[in-house]
Amino acid sequence: MRRLAVVLLVVLAAHPALAQGFLTPEGPVAAAQREHLIRVTMVTMIAVLPVLIGVPLILWRYRRGGRGAYRPGFDFSAPLEIAMWGVPAAIIVLLGTWLWQSTEALDPYEPLGTDPLQVQVIGLNWKWLFLYPDQGIASIGTLAIPAGRPVRLQLTTDTVMQSFMVPALAGQIYAMPGMVSDLNLMASRVGTLTGANTQFNGTGFAGQQVDVQVMTPDDWTAWVQGGTTAPSLDAARYARLGVAGTTAQALQALSLPDSRMHLTAPGLFASVVARYHDGAPLADRDQPGAPGFQPESTP
């Protein structure tokens, strides 16, 4: 079984799609998660294999007319009881310890190093908007990051609840309106990865994907530079993004050449979060992503 599991993992890993999954990690967090998965699977095998192997053997040996001796009164054995409770308990103690350590170590709120790149993420129906406050740019549906540098994502949504996930880097975290959650990640190699929303939010849900472009620091700087000369993300453009639609539809509606925009209002993220806390009711027409949303009416 252990061999089989390894073989299975290798076969799966050779599969092209796995470039997207965390079994072929592109960063330290996903690598640790994969490590943890393998450890847990292997250790549980101690408790599981006896069942997988034992059941067929017992069924054969003790079948009616089979060789096994019949002991209809056998209903207790102290050593067996001890093993039955003890072995799983011991395994759980071990797994619990690992769970504790790894959960503390991989708290998504903990930065992965000093001076992380700050990216603010706003979930919209059905696209992700990334803001780079320090660089003064924004980008729809594309998250570009430099390889080797820790990244700190701060997430919220300007519509219903969503969950931002990049499997090859760090997995996922929920994003909710009026709230900010964190996800720290880092990519070790250059490449293109896929990210997604995993929390169902309507008909465009399946298409709410993200291109995660991991670049060399130089390429990344150039990419950022290009963004500062792109059309700017003003209030009207932002409001237009709130209309439910895919990334492609949004880019077309704003007639953008590529995903980048110039971020002129550094407080955009904070104001999106604050919108839900100002004590006034929000009419349907002011709720991005809702069927009744009207971009013109948003202040």
């Binding site: 806390h277 004590g279 006034a280 009711p281």
Partner: protein
């Protein structure tokens, strides 16, 4: 079986067959009340968790809305009604006759009704100040919790009506006795929940 006769009740051995027969019902009703307790518990937790600046959403809070005097009066009404309800059970145990029981029930209903009127007038004045359940998450929690208790009281009043009808039509039969016992449990339970409400909602809010 007899050693395990069901409690909570005021029926004694003197009540013969009615006693064991009511056993299952009373126990079942206890279980139901415990389920109801969880319902209230969730609303309590929701209410308590929403008393944050975010939950208040800039709207009025306890200090502006709660009226200590009215709450004290409501508490007095409900406690008194619990006592009169106990007197109804006691009259049953003492074989004091259907009339005496009906009288105590009527008093209980009047006190319960008084409680309800006060509560509704508090609700009305909150609504008049623009502090309805639609104003904030905290107010939603408040109206759901206190309102659910009020609904229970209303159901209790209807129940008294049915009991009075039963007493009139069937007299003090064994079945009616059991129903009276269940009602008494229910009514005392509502008083217990009210202790939670005036302590956690009103007094904590005003302290």
């Amino acid at each position: 079986m007899t050693a395990n006769l069901h409690p909570g009740l005021n029926l004694g051995e003197s009540h013969g067959a009615a006693h064991p027969a009511s056993e299952n019902r009373v126990f079942g009703f206890w279980v139901f009340l415990m389920s109801d307790l969880i319902t209230f518990g969730i609303l309590f937790a929701t209410y308590a968790a929403s008393g944050t600046p975010m939950g208040l959403a800039g709207g009025p809070g306890p200090a502006q809305l709660f009226d200590l005097t009215s709450v004290a009066l409501q508490t007095a009404f409900l406690l008194a009604s619990s006592l009169t309800c106990g007197m109804a059970s006691l009259s049953m145990k003492a074989h004091a006759g259907a009339g005496r029981i009906a009288l105590w029930l009527l008093v209980t209903a009047l006190l319960g009704g008084g409680f309800l009127m006060l509560e509704l007038s508090d609700f009305a004045s909150m609504l008049a100040q623009g502090a309805g359940p639609a104003r904030s998450g905290w107010l939603s929690g408040f109206f759901a919790l206190v309102g659910l208790h009020g609904l229970h009281i209303t159901a209790g009043l209807l129940w008294i009506g049915v009991l009075l009808g039963l007493l009139a039509v069937q007299g003090l039969s064994d079945r009616v006795k059991t129903r009276l016992l269940l009602f008494a449990l229910y009514w005392h339970f509502l008083d217990l929940v009210w202790i939670g409400i005036f302590s956690i909602v009103f007094l904590r809010g005003l302290a």
